[in-house]
Symmetry: C2
Subunit: 423 residues, 2 copies
Amino acid sequence: MRIIEVTDSVSLKRDLDAGTSEQREAVDAIIEEVRKRGDQALFSYTEKFDGAQLDALLVEESEFLAAYEQLDPGVLKAIREAIENIRDFHQRQVQQSWMTTKEDGTILGQKVTPLDAVGLYVPGGKAAYPSSIMMNVIPAQAAGVGRISIVTPPQKEGTIPASVLVTAKELGVTSIYKVGGAQAIAALAYGTETIQAVDKITGPGNIFVALAKRAVFGRVDIDMIAGPSEIVVLADANANAQYIAADLLSQAEHDERASAVLVTPSSDLAEAVKTAVEKQLETLPKREIAAASIRDYGAVYVTKDLDEAVDVTNELAPEHLELLTEDAMALVGRIRHAGAIFVGPYSSEPVGDYFAGPNHVLPTNGTARFSSPLCVDDFVKKSSIISYSKQALKQNGASISALARLEGLEAHARAIDIRLEDE
Amino acid sequence: MRIIEVTDSVSLKRDLDAGTSEQREAVDAIIEEVRKRGDQALFSYTEKFDGAQLDALLVEESEFLAAYEQLDPGVLKAIREAIENIRDFHQRQVQQSWMTTKEDGTILGQKVTPLDAVGLYVPGGKAAYPSSIMMNVIPAQAAGVGRISIVTPPQKEGTIPASVLVTAKELGVTSIYKVGGAQAIAALAYGTETIQAVDKITGPGNIFVALAKRAVFGRVDIDMIAGPSEIVVLADANANAQYIAADLLSQAEHDERASAVLVTPSSDLAEAVKTAVEKQLETLPKREIAAASIRDYGAVYVTKDLDEAVDVTNELAPEHLELLTEDAMALVGRIRHAGAIFVGPYSSEPVGDYFAGPNHVLPTNGTARFSSPLCVDDFVKKSSIISYSKQALKQNGASISALARLEGLEAHARAIDIRLEDE
């Protein structure tokens, strides 16, 4: 792990994988085929890419029952607790429609309407994270979305992991379709005989899924295309080096391109964390991935004081930020750019990944400068409401026409004038 | 104007101009040149494209004073009234940061932080709309954005229209730079000696501006790339055909590709509006543009009843929707997709373009299914806050570790365990 004295500008930015032209062409061809042949295309791609011969795309009731049999009761309890926490947090984000009235009869307002339908992509195999299902489904449900569908590639035997089925069922979502890749995104965007089209597609996926989401964007909405995960720990001399090392490694195990960074004014802490990272790495199951991440994208920035450490942190604009300093809560107001802020020694980043309540879908790659965690607002849209009375138009019509004519838009002005002339 | 009985699906969608490959290459080259040569590139492109030889990019105080001299006092009054209304509406959109606490010491929250800096593009010449400045600057100011810059191409003489300068000055924005096109977008995204980089770029522009915005998206945030304007009027037999015709034409005069549509169960009204549109067109200054729009993208859909008219309207998901029916306000709840809803006979669409208060930057091309008017939220970002106490981690640590291990992420589990072992 590199220890660096900050002298110049710092950045977490890595190039996003934009796909090769072969990949983009393959994705376009798959989308075209799904539009043309519908379900038949889905069945044949699933056989080709996932090795599964299916009779039906929709998961059956009996498969949910079997999944509950398989799941450890302790895990089921944890899933239920997490759902409750995440639901509680997201309910607090719900915005109300509002209206305001004036004495002249004017009514202005903002109507909040849930999206009609959304689709969630759940990756297959080891990346079929139950927590992703919670983090995407719960804000959509809190928003009041009427129809939520999940697509996920089946295993060779045509099955879906028990933890996925149980989590979805616990959330009340049973429209789960056994299809993955670009073909699943095409089905959600355009609809097939079995899968109804949706208005927005969210959830992580591999490069083919990301390219397909980009290709259908505009026809439907999509969430962000996330980059590799990041953590920045901002710590002072009294912070626990073992905790920090463990937290850095919890990001590093995600991906060889994940980035784990410590920013501290203490060169003693810098050395202690470096040593602890190396030591803890030794026994980690995913040590090869984590070691590559630490080597290529890990760093300790040593600053001249805490103020400079705050500046460096804001410049990095990290996805996850831990504050392990004295009176950490008082620093929150000085953090201008971060997806999620974990305050104090017991707020380890995994607390937020699974359990505490806030969303784990967060802006990466420096986009926390202008982007937000996935939230209820991402599953509603707003409409302005404007109701002018005769009196209100009479009072203000001349000003409105004047502004229209200032912009050279005579028909705009006449639409006002024709109503005033009627007097 | 075509009168159509609704038999099948309807749509307002038109292909967006994605630019030619020559245009995209030209834009990429301009961006590269601005990154390399900074202000010098801005001066030479401004000479080349706008025919203006400038000594300085920044508008000077004396130019604002001269602009006030030029402006009609009635127009200035209208600008001030509009600013007051728009500010009042957008202030109501401001979201507060919030926190919630639990007895075990847990603190969860959502911090709302304004963007550091935004840039507004204002087109040149006849499209230099003061209303665009108000509609982009006011939500950014209500959000608390610290630094707002305006870029706009100068006229040949090196000047900026008086209405633009006065509107900006009335809003308190004086960082106005005389540069337009892709070069202005590049300057806002990357910064030059004179123009500081921003976090988000908003505002309309021609195809070169749109392509440049797409090219820098990701480095900075951008607003939507808007399609041509649209209006749908939903009216019953008692609606005033002259009002409707005037309102349809007020959209049609914007652009040959604008779309103006009436949806009504009354074939008498359909005929009356068709006749009124033809008649009103005759004396319109922009009659050629408006006539082309009505011919190519105008339509009257005649439905079997009001319920079907509501369904057709939701299917169209228009940018602007006028409800000219009996008890129009009661219909608002049934409108699921529309950028702005104008209720009743005196709420002509231009009321919202300039004056009433809600934003005139609205989702086009059917995207009202999932997009919202420009608003204060577009100029802030949120950060989640998670603070767990020792007690809270002790109580919940086992569940968190169980979920981490369920997903095969051992380092995540150990980051929790190491803190519990310390007990």
